[in-house]
Subunit: 165 residues, 4 copies
């Protein structure tokens, strides 16, 4: 069961640039994370962009959608900034592709030692292998349907818009 | 969807005892891992034992089985040493409980900085929420049915006994 | 031999604020670093300020100088942002206190996993215990006299202004 | 000021062997530690052996002494297991070389995430550049003369045999 991984940036992949003291992007850390996780799932990684999701445009989302549509695999993992994850999920869902698409990310950069990113990556890969076709956000150890998820900007946790609990 | 987590020890929870230079168990790290992963899944943790799985006895497995059977939750995560994971999975499967049971662990202790344990925990929790009733081993980003899994002791990776690939 | 430690902020103590995605200060990490280093040197820690050294004013430097002068200890460690370390060293040196003062810091925040800060702290404490009275900058495993040091902003390394090599 | 670094093993350089679950030696981590510490001190590294210091023989100590004597540099850092550091220090001191020799190590392996080793390495390099000729042990942020140091095996801290405090 092959999985396509599309990298778009986000906190997940941010690094500290010691020369200017700012947060920046270099290469994605997903390959080293898969190695550290001793992952034997068959994956194919493509870096589409390296952007803060607040700066992601509709052109960027169109590129992501195009990459999902044209991928040979029907299971697709997207790493993404948390701020507009739900927006991109909705953008992709409109297309009703016969694929399982899971969007994940991190609240703290993977390189910063105490990141949720490695945990999220494991969970997202697992959800991809077991959920039916559809578009989902995987954060906080859970998955959310694309039309029932938002990030609570005060707490930094994801939650359902209409909780059934 | 509540999940019961049963701790049994294994490499996952091993620590370095600086006074005798040996690997040892103290408390489980699962609660701090769930916090670091910013996990919002409803979990209930019980430490059953803290043993190297090569030293796990049938009495120990009976205790694990009893804890699975008597748990109020029908989704159960077991952290376990990797060497006899498949053995414990088979032991639990014989009972045919109407529950989803996922056994996970790590090849490198969580406290040792470059462990697969945090990734495995994320994946195991995700598989628990999506797989039908049954007994599974979750390692290397994948899940294995209890009757089709073994640890390759030369490589340290898990593999299917009868690969369908 | 007691050592006074004065905290002023700098990259050393910066943290990632997950809610706004920016680098920020909370508490200093020096106490936990001393514990991790299993340090048995008698130290007394005071947080004077938590600022980026590019924003440090002469008022701030006056406060640092006052704290050096009035400290009971004659060995003083100052944690400081790297950009104006040499400036503060010169400011303090003018006063010609009968004390050994060592300024140190980090190019990468201590909390970010691959920081030079822990190494620098060990070196700075050692230099403090062995150097004669004077004002020094300790970075990159070396010490520099206050009047012969600058940060090379292109490389991020400290160097002597007049190298005798 | 060039420094010769002699590697002998010890907890400092121990690693976790995931295939047999034991602690083991592979390569020394000193080069990557110097890089992480952004160290610009001129150093020359030689690995003499990779042993637990409880298993170090007089032959091993003779080799260390020979390496100290024949080194071109008069400043020598030795990484060493903590259990017999004081013994090796005394062995080297008998020779009364006109050199500054500092022995250091760690209570927790460098690779295990919360090690004192990186702090100790910074301190040891600093002591080497500032102490007069002689043989010293550098641990816990302090230095000890070769004839006035012992490891307290109950606490894991080093202490003076005759405290003058």
């Amino acid at each position: 069961m092959a999985i396509r991984i599309l990298i778009t940036g986000g906190t997940f992949d941010k690094e500290y640039d010691m020369l200017n003291g700012k947060l920046d992007f270099e290469e994605t850390h997903v390959p080293e994370m898969l190695k550290l996780g001793r992952c034997t799932v068959d994956t194919e990684i493509r870096t589409l962009m390296m952007v803060d999701s607040l700066e992601m445009t509709d052109n960027d989302r169109e590129l992501i959608l195009h990459s999902c549509r044209s991928a040979a695999e029907d299971r697709i993992l997207i790493t993404h900034g948390t701020d507009t994850m739900a927006l991109t999920a909705a953008y992709l869902a409109k297309e009703q592709l016969d694929k399982t698409i899971v969007i994940t990310g991190a609240m703290i950069p993977y390189k910063f030692g105490s990141s949720d990113g490695f945990f999220n990556l494991g969970a997202a890969l697992a959800f991809l292998q077991t959920l039916p076709h559809g578009v989902y956000v995987a954060m906080n150890g859970r998955y959310y349907n694309w039309d029932n998820v938002r990030k609570n900007k005060k707490t930094g946790y994801f939650e359902e818009i209409n909780s059934t609990v």
